[in-house]
Symmetry: C2
Subunit: 293 residues, 2 copies
DNA sequence: ATGGCCGATCAGAGATACTGATACACGTGG
DNA sequence: CCACGTGTATCAGTATCTCTGATCGGCCAT
């Protein structure tokens, strides 16, 4: 199970095509076909059904493992490189959209201590933050998400990365101000909202899939899916009645109503992610953020 | 970073010798030397200091990743095989010593439902249980350990394995009955015991390293190390005054005294580990165990 | 029916990964 | 301090592997 073969397999499964995967990987279609054949004969079972190209059950099992394995290999390489290379001159940060907001004050503090620091901040999806920090593309990452009050975030791929909790906030249901449930003092449980019109904004707010898992319910169907990272757009959508979403209280503006979410008991949490820190500047940011709790 | 190279690297680091690793792996010394050279030139840094053979800091980083990566590769292979192969006729179980005790009643129940089931039980160290279940050597594993009351066990290598809590018990300090602290109604915190004579039995009782981490203390030095899995021997050692150890209450016999451990707040927990279960018998054991909570 | 698309297969060239032999370096014991 | 022995590095050669490019064959859409 050569990592090259795994990478090819993942790419083929992702593309749904041998030829497309070949192009993306810079191989010939022939090579890709041989890669998959090698894997299949090694494991003794078909991994993909052809035409159309779909993973078999065995292929699905392998896919579950292949991604994390490849990520971990990158993380290993990055970790080794970090112990050798001298610390980078620019501080490379990544954050998921709602986590980025915790950064400004902490960064200001660091700027005072290390005035010459060049900084780069990338806002992207949670998985990309985790993958990027693991692979060494980013020095530090900030990821937000929901969790039970006592548990840390469940960052499946974050093995071998250090995490520190940097902030938490209560979760609220964001509603149009005119919504009948938007009365002051009102509290809600997810059960009350099983049949509501939901906006699923998985890169920005609490993903509906996560809420379903936490509620143990199979309801909560999205009426509207927002694939974007812009908070203002989401709030506008909510405000104009396209649906509701679960957000940390501090993310809301006055033009949408916030009703605290009581059950299941969940909080919004922001965590700092990093590998081994040899860079004093990065370490300063890390401690500045942790202290700000 | 071919897995073969990683395996060689791990073996060399473990043996402390190229030639010994070569023999263990069935290669020539020349091949091993070339493997390491390839890895080092790929990563652009020395990984081992030679003569004596010791990992460099970069090598240590890589070692931290290499083991889990290789384990995960095995787990992937095992997971794929499981979806293809028909369920094994004998139920292969593994358990850490103190976890094995939860098995008997559950197994009896299964024997009633599936009378023809052949069973094999291996008792071994916690890590070996986790590795064996991941690699598919065992169908089910039971691991015990200590954790805070709300958290699950911290099974670092158990990625992609399902875990279910099957039992918990209060932790007590086991002392000779004649010990001055062994008064009825007495309660203890780890801080009180910083300077006590400890028996470290990492494969059997709560490892001192774990207790140190939980207490946040650097005290707790072992006066006696017991590398073994036999509970009776450990209790005898404790009873005859060689030192004390932290154990689940239910493990003790009347010839040693038990004083509840109050701080840090920890419990003894037993968890069931398994991959994807296709085997109905294994599933029966799994549910029988979970229900027994 | 037929053309286009896509995956499988095949043969051959280049790269790789071993072995066995040998050179070299370090730590040790005299 | 030198010589020896143990243990790693290097080298050359061969067997194997892994690509490419060409070709075949099957399925679907027109």
């Amino acid at each position: 199970m050569d990592p090259h073969l795994l990478r090819t397999f993942v790419t083929v499964a992702d593309c749904g095509s041998f030829s497309a995967a070949a192009e993306r990987l810079g191989y010939t279609q022939s090579a890709v076909s041989q890669h998959i054949a090698t894997l299949e004969s090694d494991l003794g079972t078909p991994l993909l059904r052809r035409r159309p190209v779909v993973p078999t059950p065995a292929g699905e099992r392998l896919l579950e493992h292949a991604g994390p394995i490849l990520l971990r290999l990158d993380a290993a390489r990055a970790d080794v490189r970090r112990t050798v290379a001298d610390p980078p001159s620019t501080l490379t940060l990544a954050a998921s959209p709602l986590a980025a907001r915790s950064l400004a004050t902490a960064l200001a503090e660091v700027r005072r201590t290390y005035p010459g620091t060049e900084t780069s901040l990338t806002v992207c999806g949670r998985d990309q933050v985790v993958a990027g920090v693991a692979a060494g593309t980013f020095t530090l990452g900030l990821v937000d998400g929901i969790a039970t009050p006592t548990d840390p975030l469940n960052l499946t791929n974050a093995v071998q990365l250090r995490t520190t909790s940097v902030a938490h906030d209560t979760l609220v249901v964001a509603l149009p101000t005119t919504h009948p449930l938007a009365r002051p003092g009102r509290r809600l449980s997810l059960g009350d909202l099983a049949d509501a019109r939901w906006i699923d904004a998985p890169d920005l707010a609490a993903p509906l899939a996560t809420l379903r898992a936490a509620a143990g319910s199979n309801a909560l169907r999205p009426a509207f899916t927002y694939n974007g990272t812009d908070l203002h757009t989401l709030l506008t959508l909510i405000g104009s009645g396209h649906g509701l979403a679960v957000l940390p209280r501090s993310a809301l503006t006055p033009d949408v109503a916030a009703v605290p979410l009581t059950t299941p008991r969940l909080v919004h949490r922001t965590e700092l992610l990093h590998g081994h820190l040899s860079d004093p500047t990065a370490e300063a940011v890390a401690t500045a953020l942790s202290d700000h709790e």
